[in-house]
Amino acid sequence: MVDQPAQPARRHSNIRPGRIVAWTVLFLGGVVMMTPLLFMFSTSLKSAGQVYDLKLIPTDPSFANYIKVLSDGRFSRWFLNSVGIATIVTLSCLFFDSLVAYTLAKFRFPGRQVVFLAILSTLMIPTEMLVIPWYLMASKLGWVDTYWGIMFPGLITAFGVFLMKQFFETVPDDFLEAARIDGLNEFAIWWKVALPLVTPALSALAIFTFLGNWTAFFWPLIVTTDSALYTLPVGLSSFAVEQSIQWELIMTGASLATIPTLMIFLFFQRYIVRGVMLAGVKG
């Protein structure tokens, strides 16, 4: 942490004990995190008979499971369902969360604080409690077994509003006033001036939302019965109940399912880190 200019030689010649401890802890943490993933991938390369011999490196690795899963029409259907739902929900969140957040951050109107607190307070209610009212609502409105039914609870999120509001508050009012004088209407000020100034936050929110919806299991499971509407996690879990548990196929599907998240993470990595950091600092 603090540099010690009085002992510059020590830093070069010796590795401090603190470093060793830190590396050891990080290494162990890395192993703990990676093992399930490696096992998942390893299992996906095994045949059904080899699943229960717990070797990390399969004796006879093959991509047969991948061919099987990918040629099964259901998997690609679920995959596309997940991509479509996660994309639409993410775009919706980016638009509506930031619009609400901007209004709360930059306009003074009666009840502003109350509205914000009401939105925030929904963060304190666990999903498990919300699922029943959501389901009742969905069933009354005929949304069960529809894509809309899967998506509607997530189209605007309190977390996103909160995150974006913190960022919009850092945008100087002068920017908005200058645009107002230049003749932009309020929507254009938000769209052309305010939003481009908070792109790091938008990226972070996009990643959080996409990942959250990509892995969502509980609600999609409850609101769908038609397997054609399943998202990937729900679909994969059905491998476990329909016939005997086909671990090698589940693991193959799961391996494939990590690809988009991995791509998004690698692509937006710096924004994720910044987003988490800022959410932490500001929250």
């Binding site: 200058a178 107002r180 004088i181 230049d182 003749g183």
Partner: protein, 360 residues
């Protein structure tokens, strides 16, 4: 170009008034500077002219038209902000072009206007750069360019130079003044820096606590400040203030100040009145030993001498209080030295102690 008329303009936030019905007419093409300490209402006044703050009372006319309820975009004014308010995600050309957002010019005409403006401000080589790659002065020029590009009826500047370092501030001040001389546009400029006000303005408006204290040309304010506040606010170092009582033979600065000779001055008719005497450091003359040819004489001991190059300012301790005086650069003044300064009676400004207003 247009004339801006403020008729009893006031601003209230709930029950708290921050601007108390000010009257001011800014002539077409005039450069007016609103100056005062923070919280004096100068920025609020400017923002009411811009339309960024609602006007609580009074009438605002721009070019003869009442614009109280016009939105900013319908007032055709341009504003330059303290932090420039140029957009980091746009290039210089796009930033300048933002000023033409509502204009109905064709794309080619817009490009031409942007080019012209950039040329005038020396920004041509930077048109494709983003603000992050510009210096503070260049950013400020971009902000001015965005204001200029659409040919507004008036420019409003809200402390545009206070984020710049001292050297750059002087340079930009000069540029803004030259720009005004070239464009002859109406400019309302807000600052808390009296040097900026003095060097830029055709007329200065001194404000305090939401009221206008004095309006006048810079030298008028410097020479004939209407009250103690303005007298101290305009000019550096600030004017010396000495409490005194009017006597038949001049003024009496009290028994504790025998070092202050204020007698044999022109006779006055208001003997006994409590006054404050103002005298500028530049109006005091360092006396050599034995020299005594000024009606006013002040003696004291040097506390600090601050050489400025062409002159030296000296902080002189009197038996009670102290004054600041200008001495020639060549004078050798060490702390503790006894010094005497002389002044002419007509350099004295006499303020009533109770009302703080100029008496004569």
């Amino acid at each position: 170009m247009a004339r801006i008329e403020l008729d009893k303009i006031s601003k209230r936030y709930g029950n708290i008034a921050t601007v108390h019905g000010i009257d001011l007419t800014i002539e077409d093409g005039e450069f007016v500077v609103l100056v005062g300490p923070s919280g004096c209402g100068k920025s609020t006044t400017l923002r009411m002219i811009a339309g960024l703050e609602a006007i609580s009372g009074g009438t605002l006319r721009i070019g003869g038209e009442v614009v109280n309820n016009h939105e900013p975009k319908h007032r055709n004014i341009a504003m330059v902000f303290q932090n420039y308010a140029i957009y980091p995600h746009l290039t210089v050309a796009q930033n300048i072009g933002f000023g033409l957002y509502t204009s109905k010019l064709s794309k080619a005409e817009k490009q031409a206007r942007i080019g012209e403006t950039a040329k005038m401000l020396g920004l041509e080589p930077y048109l494709e750069r983003r603000p992050a790659a510009l210096s503070g002065g260049q950013r400020q020029r971009v902000a001015i360019g965005r204001a200029m590009v659409r040919d507004p009826v008036a420019f409003l500047f809200d402390e545009p130079l206070s984020n710049l370092d001292a050297q750059l501030r002087g340079q930009m001040r000069l540029e803004i003044k030259q720009l005004h001389q070239r464009l002859r546009s109406t400019i309302v400029f807000v600052t808390h820096d009296q040097v900026e006000a003095m060097s830029l303005a055709d007329r200065i408006v001194v404000m305090r606590e939401g009221r206008i204290l004095q309006v006048g040309a810079p030298m008028e304010l410097y020479n004939r400040p209407v009250d103690i506040f303005t007298a101290r606010f305009i000019g550096t170092p600030e004017m010396n203030m000495i409490d005194a009582t009017v006597t038949n033979a001049g003024f009496d600065a009290g028994p504790n100040n025998p070092a202050l000779r204020l007698t044999s001055l022109p006779a006055r008719t208001d003997a006994g009145r409590a006054v404050v005497l103002g005298i500028r450091p530049q109006e005091l003359t360092l006396l050599t030993d034995g020299q005594d040819d000024f009606p006013i004489r002040i003696e004291g001991k040097v506390r600090v001498a601050e050489p400025q190059g062409p002159e030296t300012f000296v902080l002189v301790d009197l038996p009670t209080g102290h004054i600041v005086a200008r001495a020639p650069a060549a004078a050798i003044l060490r702390p503790g030295d006894s010094v005497a300064f002389g002044a002419h009676p007509d350099s004295l400004r006499i303020f009533d102690k109770a009302s703080e207003r100029l008496v004569a």
